[in-house]
């Protein structure tokens, strides 16, 4: 069974760029992709407490996808298709030469097809004409529509499933993809995280949860500010990230460029509260330790943490506390960055997008800034959080992701050495 699983292709669609090079350039500039929501046609934003989000403006699916494919699925799955297409091209995989049964697809999605979902539900309740519910409603809102359409688009006949653990969905997808290859069930797994639910109902729901930033409605680019003293909630985002994972032997046989190795993964539950993390940080600390143990590396070897860091008051503080518990005297010498400061919280896509930022940190030696980190909060101050780019040879990185439903994930990504 393969012992090393590597990343050979990346693809992304995000509020700061479509395509990896555009994304990474904007990320290194520390540019915020958060903007004002123009309104949820037909009604305005007046009734919403929060009015900003990390939106992908002007996305025209037909520019990237054939129209039949694009029309059959919701926005999040279109994002998944676009990111996958780029990642596969980037990997250099020639699918025609591969055994399709050895290529899997694992997608992480938190909300799924909410654009059509909300529209159809509204229409049914208003019209009371059940026979006018769109025939494609069920296939679109079924949560594995993205993993299905991605496999169909590329003829991937291996393991195919969707993981839905809210905000940690695609970190789990990444970990599960690694395990799938490690267990010998596939040579290649296309791993995707995708969500696009800046929709009237979902957005209202997050407002009602009092989870979103409301203080920066007039300055959207300042709203997502993880670890900063003036943070006041997360900012919703949308997008997708795709990573092509394969066994190192498979990658070497086809002389592929290897970005990094996915070396370890842990999945835990706090079994505590639907939306609140345990304040002592013990469960998060334990998840990070388990992931490092799975990777066979010591805490002393981690030089970068791509934090979950959503910009909520309690969440960021608990994560920082957990980092201190695990890394003790080294906690301040580890580089930490929050990708959500740039793109907002893309929910089910967050783990994959953070994973891409981690892979690129290892590959390029540059760690993107944490935007809006202006004044450290004593409750979560770590010296490795910077508002500027950090140049550092990252040998091993830890990706954190936590989700509603009391669930945690951590993934270790490291520099590949044969």
């Amino acid at each position: 069974m393969p012992s090393q699983i590597v990343v050979t292709g990346l693809g992304i669609i995000s509020p700061i760029g479509i395509g990896v090079s555009e994304f990474w350039k904007a990320a290194l500039d520390g540019r915020s992709g958060v903007s004002t929501i123009a309104g949820f046609d037909p009604f305005p934003m007046d009734g919403y407490r929060s009015k900003v989000a990390g939106q992908i403006h002007g996305f025209a699916p037909e520019r990237y996808l054939d129209s039949v494919q694009a029309e059959r699925v919701d926005r999040y799955a279109q994002f998944a298709l676009v990111a996958t297409k780029e990642a596969l091209a980037d990997s250099g995989l020639q699918l025609a030469k591969e055994n399709p049964r050895r290529i899997g697809v694992i997608v992480g999605a938190g909300m799924g097809g909410m654009v059509m979902g909300e529209r159809e539900i509204t229409q049914l309740y208003q019209s009371q004409r059940p026979h006018r519910v769109h025939p494609n409603f069920i296939p679109v809102i079924t949560l594995n529509s993205a993993s299905g359409i991605v496999a169909m688009a590329h003829g991937a006949k291996g393991p195919n499933y969707t993981i839905s653990t809210a905000c940690s969905s695609s970190a789990h997808a990444l970990g599960q993809a690694m395990q799938c290859i490690r267990e010998g069930r596939a040579d290649v797994v296309i791993t995707v995280g995708a969500d696009a639910s800046i929709t009237p109902l979902v957005f209202a729901g997050f407002c009602s949860l009092r989870a979103l930033s409301t203080r920066y409605n007039d300055q959207p680019e300042r709203a997502s500010r993880p670890f900063d003293r003036l943070r006041d909630g997360f900012v919703m985002g949308e997008g997708a990230g795709a990573l092509v994972l394969e066994s190192a032997s498979h990658a070497k046989k086809r002389k592929a460029r290897i970005y990094a190795e996915v070396a370890g993964y842990a999945a835990t539950s706090e079994a505590y509260h639907m939306v609140i993390p345990r304040e002592d940080g013990e469960e998060i600390a334990s998840t990070m330790r388990l992931a490092m143990a799975d990777a066979g590396i010591a805490a002393s070897q981690i030089d970068y943490i791509n934090a979950h860091a959503t910009s909520t008051s309690i969440g960021d503080a608990v994560e920082a506390k957990a980092i201190r518990q695990v890394f003790r005297s080294r906690a301040d010498s580890i580089a930490v960055s929050a990708t959500k400061s740039l793109v907002g919280h893309t929910l089910g896509a967050a783990g994959a997008i953070g994973g891409i930022a981690s892979v690129l940190a290892i590959h390029t030696g540059q760690i993107h800034p944490t935007a809006n980190y202006e004044e450290p909060d004593p409750a979560c101050a770590l010296r490795g959080i910077k508002a500027a780019v950090q140049e550092r040879k990252v040998k091993a990185a830890l990706l954190n992701a936590f989700g509603f439903g009391s669930n945690n994930a951590a993934v270790v990504i490291k520099r590949y050495a044969a």
């Binding site: 407490r49 203080r215 007039d218 300042r222 939306v275 609140i276």
Partner: protein, 96 residues
């Protein structure tokens, strides 16, 4: 609506939420420390209060609503337009 009515309605909402006798709820009870409401439960309670009193409570006001009495006093103030303090504009808030 008199201040007493407001308080009674809030205590009733709390008693209903907590499934306990309204008489056992006091104004100086701390929502978290005495009544055991976590932050999510406070949000649910305020959601109910918003409906009962036809109010919208901005996120920024939540932090001051720590006791039963503070919630009652807040709602009373919000219900009397004359007494209601000028609410800071969004612009004023974010610069603090």
């Amino acid at each position: 609506m008199s201040d007493r009515d407001v308080t009674e309605k809030i205590v009733a909402a709390l008693a209903d939420y907590l499934k306990r006798d309204p008489a056992s709820i006091q104004l100086d009870h701390h929502l978290r420390d005495d009544l055991g409401l976590d932050s999510m439960a406070v949000i649910e309670l305020l959601y109910k209060i918003e409906e009962v009193f036809d109010l919208q409570i901005p996120d920024q006001d939540l932090v001051a609503l720590s006791t039963v009495g503070a919630v009652a006093q807040y709602v009373e103030q919000r219900l009397v337009p004359v007494k209601r303090p000028a609410r800071p504009s969004a612009k004023g808030k974010k610069t603090t």
